[in-house]
Symmetry: C3
Subunit: 314 residues, 3 copies
Amino acid sequence: MTLQLDSDGHLRHLLTLDGLPREILVRLLDRAGQIRDTALGRTCKRNSLVGTTICTLFFEPSTRTRSSFQIAAQRLGADIINFEASTSSARKGETALDTLRNLEAMGVRGFVVRHAEDGAAEMLATHAGEGTTVINAGDGRSAHPTQGLLDALTIRQAKGPDFSKLKVLIVGDVKHSRVARSDLHALHTLGTGEIRVCGPQSLLPDDGVLKGCVVGDDFDAMLEDADVVMMLRLQRERMEEGLVSSLDDYHRDYGLTVQRLRRAAADAVVLHPGPINRGIEITDEVADGPQSLVLRQVSNGVAIRMAVLETLLA
Amino acid sequence: MTLQLDSDGHLRHLLTLDGLPREILVRLLDRAGQIRDTALGRTCKRNSLVGTTICTLFFEPSTRTRSSFQIAAQRLGADIINFEASTSSARKGETALDTLRNLEAMGVRGFVVRHAEDGAAEMLATHAGEGTTVINAGDGRSAHPTQGLLDALTIRQAKGPDFSKLKVLIVGDVKHSRVARSDLHALHTLGTGEIRVCGPQSLLPDDGVLKGCVVGDDFDAMLEDADVVMMLRLQRERMEEGLVSSLDDYHRDYGLTVQRLRRAAADAVVLHPGPINRGIEITDEVADGPQSLVLRQVSNGVAIRMAVLETLLA
Amino acid sequence: MTLQLDSDGHLRHLLTLDGLPREILVRLLDRAGQIRDTALGRTCKRNSLVGTTICTLFFEPSTRTRSSFQIAAQRLGADIINFEASTSSARKGETALDTLRNLEAMGVRGFVVRHAEDGAAEMLATHAGEGTTVINAGDGRSAHPTQGLLDALTIRQAKGPDFSKLKVLIVGDVKHSRVARSDLHALHTLGTGEIRVCGPQSLLPDDGVLKGCVVGDDFDAMLEDADVVMMLRLQRERMEEGLVSSLDDYHRDYGLTVQRLRRAAADAVVLHPGPINRGIEITDEVADGPQSLVLRQVSNGVAIRMAVLETLLA
């Protein structure tokens, strides 16, 4: 994916963390870290994007991610247009492109795109005019790069910059998860010591996604000594598809409880991209407990998105 | 309700006018009055909330109240996120709390909350983090404090600051009305001379809400010499519930007409929280007539909300 | 339509281009042209409407036009409220008026109105308070004045200010098109040399709209030597109404193809108000080809709306 870098190697779009040079990734984390310490103070506002119009172009509904990008853009002084195209209106790739071109012609410079189809953001970036930036806010099951970045920042804040010492465990529906893919890309790029992936066979991908990972379906065994436990959200429709026998079974085998968490390192931290199915992939005690970084992830999300918007558009 | 005051007696949330100290209430009215005279000038904008993000968190739809808060926040320079959670998606208390915590983590400082359940705003305020402010924009049938404040301001502008000389009549579905409850709290706190409440028995509350009021179901009799007539909106579903026999009957017995209004004091003023069911609780002639303060209430609504936001967040 | 001018002949509302004095129309085009060259630069923002609240009051859905007005207002520093009243909720004229009056009382100064009924914007302007401005963003089949202005600006940029030398052809469903009506008004006012109108008989108006135009149903013949070809959007419901036999037939008779376009002048330009039904009224090759000004129209739309908002509200 060189599309997202210009000929000088600078970031032009943010489509995926796959193949993103380590120095660019680290610079984004550094920038977000600074922003978090200063500008995320609740009354501080930057002006670096005054006069820039950003459009959240969502073909899949997502109040949470959209709000995070919107707040990030507002904090930078940008103008924002929210464009919600429900999937129900069966918008096709071509129509998405027409929408982009029209908004470009209106002067929109940055597009934050969410789409149910793999590659949608890349397709739009391919056809975008010069000076237009596309940020992938989640496409199909392919990538959700700002989530990967915010997770990496959250781990780095908790465990320090040397990922080579870390054992990181990703748990759940990796097969259908763009979050997991972007997390894996970030963890590989940052040189994570050991990446473990755990879930029922039906929810593990069979392509090359798990290359270089320790893979297994025994959650208790995989938890041993883990420094970071990254839980994924279970889509309830997986049960209807027969990939999960029941929510109770799933919770019994892959739900993170306080008891189970004791198998991990004593200072292990727990992440979840939200929204949490409380009592299914994670219990209330863990989600709201001292090892949980769930709300820290949400805060870091705004900082990461500010860093990404500023890097791409300022 | 001491939750809304901090240990120094300053306002931290605005949840209800019930028990709100008179001096705090009067200070909000004074502040709104100043704002109305100056900043509500149509091109004047304040900067007291630049850098502050406010979220309108509406679990019940209401374009009108949300627009009023949104305009108030914009006039103060705040950034705004509109979060609409339809009641149809059956959001529960816990989910509302998760939503609040996530938006808090994103840096939102003020939440303007509307919810169909009594006590929802209070519940959120109880669990809100330090530095987070909750403003009740209407919960169940309990309270709608900014409406109570704007009604009090409207009466004070028309009749002067001494409420002890006033006869104020509230008419209609008091039983289900959060507006009526907040009006009653404000009127009691401001020492209103006589508070009369009128409506069909089926629409009058049977708990202690009407303590200290003169209560009756004969509209004509209750109107005599009234200085202020506060009409309530009739929810059409009350007819389906059998609480009102027909809209025609309701209008005949409790509709305010020009003829009827003559029974009140010659300089009586008429209020209605809107939106008006024209021809049911009030005729066009009265709604648009010289004694109507309906649009003045709407203007005062923005001023009150600016005063509340500034007091709580600046 | 003198309602839109005040007693000094200044523009107070923008409701229609019908009867709008030529000098006012030309001044708006000049202003938009300047804005396009300077302020539409993608990072430039003006402050002429800081402190002014504008409401997009849409009783018909239209993301595109609304976004264009919203971006224009943001570029001028205005605050914006989006008020969407779906037609499904069967809002009547009176309710639209109540909505306007309430938002006026909240301090909204400019209303950008779209409505399915002819005359809706005029009705609101008639009842609007002093200091309130109404901009028609499309009412029924009557008028869409900012579209007429942006089309005129687009033609002027391509062909120069002397319209008397131009042969302009309008093609398609003129009968139901407010765009066509506003285009015709602008073209007449600017002294266009020859205005041709072409479409199937069932889609041509039978009132006086086409006075002074050359009218015909033979697209090939009408295209000869045309300098400007303005294609209209075909509403698919026209087929259900029996006004068009089939989309294939329509495309065969009135679809603009590269082959057909050769009949026009060699330097002819093609306009379309969007969104395009690709392959029906216009092929991809023409829509995206070198003679197409479709995206230029979209850009000009923002400039025109900035000029209109500034002229009316600054």
